[in-house]
């Protein structure tokens, strides 16, 4: 069973529907105890980093996610959910994240050419930079759907894919059993479904 964490940010309808389409049992839950019995965990999220991080902490979900991830349970953060995996974010101040992957979240404007529109919104090609189980059913150059104004600034060894938008932006990350997608696989058509399918087949790892 996959548990999609509901901590009061964003709409989980599409995400839940993708798993139904894949024939995988998934449940939306706001109960941190459900994370223990889950096979895999999805950390979604849209909106502001600080608000999401606070809600995750206040609900007790943050500690539960960290505990399960450290046990080796596969975890996938999506969009803001990916950004929350890092040490910290500089979105309107400086805020602590979950610290599951080294790095910091910074404004896209720091990285890309001037004059480009922000957010980086629309379909962009993935440049796969490392072999990963997450991309076993897709190809280099496949397009996925992005909507974001901040990006993960991090060591290359945890980056598994990038996207080119007047500069190189982190598109997907992995640290052992902890995965993250800056784009929305649940809105990326067949390619996105294939990424989620691959996540459902990843194995637990001891860290």
């Amino acid at each position: 069973m996959i548990v999609i964490i509901d901590y009061g940010v964003g709409n989980l309808f599409s995400l839940k529907s993708t798993f139904s389409a894949l024939g995988v049992q998934a449940e939306v839950s706001s109960d941190k105890n459900d994370l223990r019995t889950a096979d895999r965990i999805i950390l979604p999220g849209v909106g502001a980093f600080a608000d999401a991080a606070n809600k995750l902490r206040d609900s007790g979900m943050a500690d539960a996610v960290i505990a399960e991830a450290k046990k080796g349970k596969p975890l996938l953060g999506i969009c803001l959910g990916m950004q929350l995996l890092f040490d910290k974010s500089y979105e309107y101040g400086e805020h602590a994240g979950l610290g599951l992957i080294p790095g910091a979240v910074r404004p896209i404007a720091d990285r890309i050419e001037q004059g480009l529109k922000i957010p980086h919104m629309g379909w962009n090609g993935l440049q796969i930079t490392q072999k990963t189980p997450l991309f076993r059913f897709i190809n280099n150059g496949d397009h996925v759907y992005f909507v974001h104004s901040y990006f993960a600034d991090m060591p290359d060894n945890y980056v598994i894919a990038t996207a080119d938008y007047g500069g190189t932006l982190t598109a997907a990350v992995q640290n052992g059993n902890v995965y993250g997608c800056q784009f929305h696989p649940e809105k990326s058509g067949a390619v996105g479904l294939n990424i989620l399918r691959a996540f459902c087949e990843t194995e637990e790892k001891a860290k």
Partner: protein, 253 residues
């Protein structure tokens, strides 16, 4: 590289797609769910559902259809039509919409854009503007293009973006339905004025019109059309093919 988007727009009334559609191999051509799936398979980058119903009962039916579509079609969905309050945003977002477009609702109450952007984020709020030249000036029209508001269009659009609209659909009443190409002059004026994605609407009649659009106005991010796609006059995959051949970034089908 970020691709230019091709977006079909579906007008939905009483749970059915209005404007005739004629596709082979599509069992129920007026089913929004079937048509949405068909377009998604053909390479549409996004879909717009436009609710042209009025009554409460019909609105509920629209929301049901939206939910069914969103549970089967996994590309971004924008919903417009009858969006007048933050509660309307809430209703369609909970049913699976990713973005919500406001038109007359924003004209009646410009703070709607601000309130919605604050609650759901700028990326969620799309301003749709019906624009027509009156004595050489771009004017905003309300009520489906029937009523001249007297407002100058470029400053209206700029104002809404400042309030938090994260994307703008520019529908030129002058070129709409004529099928002689998009309104390049109007679109260039809007692109010069704002730093958010601009979607061109009104006037597409052929594959070449999309190529001309993206070549002539590089600031435009997407092209939207309805009847030419529905009637099969233009196939989305042909547009994509032509874009790639002409060096315009496109997501291949």
């Amino acid at each position: 590289m970020l691709t230019k988007r091709i977006i079909p727009c579906l007008d939905v009334k009483n749970g059915r797609v209005v404007k005739g559609v004629n596709f082979q191999g599509l069992g129920d051509v007026a089913s929004p769910v079937e048509l949405a799936k068909f377009y998604s398979d053909c390479g549409a980058d996004e879909l717009v559902f436009y609710d042209i119903t009025a009554s409460f009962e019909e609105r509920k039916l629209f929301t049901d259809i939206l939910r069914e579509t969103a549970s089967q079609v996994f590309i971004p969905l924008t919903v417009g039509g009858g969006i007048n309050t933050v509660e309307d945003f809430d209703r369609v977002l909970k049913s699976g919409a990713d973005k919500v477009s406001v038109n007359s609702g924003a004209i009646r109450n410009p703070s709607l854009v601000e309130e919605a952007a604050k609650r759901y984020g700028d990326q969620c709020v799309v301003l749709s503007a019906d624009v027509k030249r009156v004595d050489g000036v771009f004017r905003v029209f309300a009520k489906g293009g029937r009523e001249n508001t007297g407002m100058e269009a470029i400053s209206w659009i700029r104002d809404c973006v400042a309030r938090g609209a994260g994307e703008v659909v520019v529908n030129s009443i002058d070129t709409d339905g004529v099928k002689q190409g998009f309104d390049l002059e109007m679109l260039a004026a809007v692109c010069d004025a704002v730093q958010v994605p601009v979607i061109a609407s009104g006037g597409a009649g052929s594959v070449e019109d999309f190529i001309t659009l993206f070549r002539s106005v590089p600031g435009v991010d997407a092209g939207l059309a309805a009847s030419i796609f529905h009637f099969g006059q233009v196939a989305i995959k042909d547009v994509k093919q032509a874009m790639l051949v002409n060096g315009i970034p496109a997501r291949p089908v």
